[in-house]
Symmetry: C2
Subunit: 101 residues, 2 copies
């Protein structure tokens, strides 16, 4: 996985609803490579289409939802837990995320 | 300009050759939104087309070249000088880069 200082550049295929969560200390960048991703937040929802980018600020609770399969580039600090403190059946450790597919 | 922790997410229209330079302490991510960007390095050259991303590691001397106008998303730490220690007529301060166009 490419590294950018203390961040990873991740590419993920997502489908469905991830989990409501937040990151205490880390902003998180979403960039949609293909498809459509909805990011639900408590104050508003943003809809990202291919080519759209959005930064979820630290401490903002959010839930990424892809109605159809969606390809996303994420830039996350290495310390970021991708579902925050929420543990769901979609939670993957960094070791799992680093495993070649 | 969107912020991602201690980085800026920049979108730049580039054309021509920037300058040979390096960054002592910062990796730099290039993501081509439109067009084609060549990144010359001493050991090799990479050619990035639309949708391609590349991280130039810290301390690697590089020179971005766009034969035609090219739209690039950059993720750079706030401390990053975009032409490193090289000062050219294309060098812009962060204040200049932050000015709305």
């Amino acid at each position: 996985m490419p590294e950018l200082d203390d961040s990873f550049v991740k590419v993920a295929k997502v489908h469905g609803s991830l989990a409501w969560h937040s990151h205490d200390d880390e902003d998180e960048l979403f960039y949609v490579l293909d498809g459509c991703l909805r990011i639900e937040m408590e104050a508003r929802t943003v809809v990202l289409n291919r080519g759209d980018a959005f930064v979820v600020p630290k401490r903002v609770r959010h839930n990424p939802v892809a109605e159809q399969a969606c390809l996303v580039m994420l830039i996350e600090r290495k310390s970021t837990l991708h579902t925050g403190n929420a543990i769901t059946d979609k939670t993957r450790s960094i070791a799992d995320q680093l495993r070649p597919v």
